[in-house]
């Protein structure tokens, strides 16, 4: 199993590396002034992960900018969660017409500010190679600045349920954006039907993706409500669920 870079190790407060799997105490984010690209097949949960990641980084005292780079699919993007993010002190850069009725794929000029800031920067890429193509325009500057690229995968999505298929999608993404993934995030889940075994059943899959892609598995995510029920010898990143439909939001309505 490939090992994590020093940057990732320090970012995630790895306590030890056992068989190449990193053990994490408190998930925060990639090191000072880091730039993290979050990519993956569409529907794997990139956006929900990116939102958690940004909020955790902000809560740890960092200045954080989250860029919604999904200009391919205008539904369930991180721009819709700008209010939650901004409340947490995260600066959000959204596509020019995000959350509107227009389908005009344009990034704002403020996008370039990420190359001129000390903020921790998180780029939430669009799905697949099509969504990642947008990154290509910035790849030279991203490489100059230095980056980590987390590849989010979910065993319960039909197009990535086989490790080989998942790695194929990763390769397509890398070819489209000109950047290389540096770690895998196992985000295998079944939305509200996720139970501890949903995640433990996916660990072998996640390790195969990591091995076959030649990059480390940084951790598996777990909904916070069941975080305590998972084995202690693996690394898990607890998530709050932000991306939901209107009837799932569960706010008291009376």
């Amino acid at each position: 199993m490939p090992a994590c870079s020093d940057a990732l190790k320090s970012a995630f407060f790895c306590s030890s590396c056992d068989n190449g799997i990193i053990h994490i105490r408190i998930p925060i984010s990639v090191g000072p002034n880091g730039l993290t690209v979050v990519c993956g097949h569409y529907g794997t949960g990139k956006t929900n992960f990116a939102i958690n990641y940004a909020i955790n980084a902000a809560r740890s005292g960092k200045k954080v900018t989250l860029v919604d780079m999904d200009i391919v699919n205008p539904y369930f993007t991180s721009s819709e969660y700008a209010e939650i993010l901004e409340k947490e002190g995260v600066k959000v850069i959204s596509p020019s017409f995000a959350t509107t009725n227009l389908d005009i794929p344009a990034l704002p000029a403020s996008m370039y500010s990420i190359f001129d800031t000390d903020d921790e920067v998180i780029l939430d890429a669009g799905g697949d190679n099509v969504g990642a193509t947008v990154l290509g325009r910035f790849s030279r500057k991203i490489i100059e600045r230095g980056y980590e690229m987390l590849y989010v995968t979910n065993m319960y999505r039909p197009m990535t349920s086989d490790p080989e298929d998942s790695v194929m999608i990763l390769k397509e993404i890398e070819n489209a954006c000109g950047l290389k993934a540096t770690a895998v995030v196992n985000n295998s889940h079944l939305k509200e039907l996720t139970v501890p075994s949903t995640i433990t059943d996916s660990l072998q899959y996640a390790k195969e993706v990591s091995r076959s892609a030649g990059i480390p598995l940084v951790f598996s995510t777990v909904p916070r409500r069941i975080a305590g029920e998972l084995p202690a010898d693996e690394c898990f990143y607890p998530l709050d669920i932000h991306v939901r439909t209107v009837w799932e939001k569960g706010e008291p309505i009376w």
């Binding site: 569409y42 539904y75 009376w254």
Partner: protein, 352 residues
Amino acid sequence: MPEKILMKGNEALAEAAIMAGCRHFFGYPITPQTEVAMHMSKRMPKVGGVYLQAESEVAAINMVLGASAAGARAMTSSSSPGISLKSEGLSYIAGSDVPAVIVNVQRAGPGLGGIQPSQADYWQATRASGHGDYKMLVLAPSTVQEMIDLVADAFALGDKYRMPVMILSDGLLGQMMEPVVIDEKKVDIPEKPWALSGHENKRKHNVVNSLYIEPPDLEAILKARYEKYDLIKKEEQRCEEYMTDDAEIVVVAYGASARISRSAVDAARKEGIKAGLIRPITLWPYPEKAVVSRMGTAKAFLCVEMSMGQMVDDVRLIVGGKRDVRFFGRTGGMVPTPAEVLREIKNIKGGI
């Protein structure tokens, strides 16, 4: 692949069509429907099928007419403005008595409207999807799992009645993800002795056509077709009822609006209000029998839609002025919230 998987509504529509034996898909991209075509483009080559991106929606629907006339299970999908473009072909399909499955992942209209979800194509789907005297079967799923089931039903019903079947979805259902179980069933595609599949000099050639030179001939064909529609009205009405047994306020909603309304009904029940939900699954034929049967306990009906009020017409026609029929809707890409629907239920409760 694990037993349970997470699927996006649009992917489920595409995958379910493949499972139902569809090997001919003709499409054209439009938000928020594009994943149907995208999924088809990735999957069809793997199952020996054809994914073809046509030069326009008009071309795609006519390719469906051609493939269906040849006996294939064919599908196209689009979103509201694209469905308008397909209307000519839909009429020809109905007039030619060929089956076809058409998906509409509705977005806001009229005109270019917007890309956010909507249910403002109800009239178009149930009344006037094209010119002439005809009907389409219209199925309205409200979960991703149900999309899988209804696509299979759509192909079967289309073949059974030799007519177009529309899956009326919306941007919210198309884009959201839910866990589903894919249950590979054996598909029985019926014989199609009417199809243009080659007579090999063994039988008289078939004709698939919607042009009739003599007016009396066309009138006779239309009358026969309407007898079929009457049979469908009798046999194929479908809906789901939730807490309607003693309901004084019956909410009527389909698709995504039904999901929202169900949450509101739960909330109303917690407050001691006898609310229930009728969720039409077939929009044509409309589940008249269910609405009529609930007139016993119902003091009022409340239609909830993502439109300015379209399906409410059908409920009013059925109720015939004997009960109060109210409407609540958000439109233009806005989605009603459970809290808003609950407020409407309480308003009605206050007045009865």
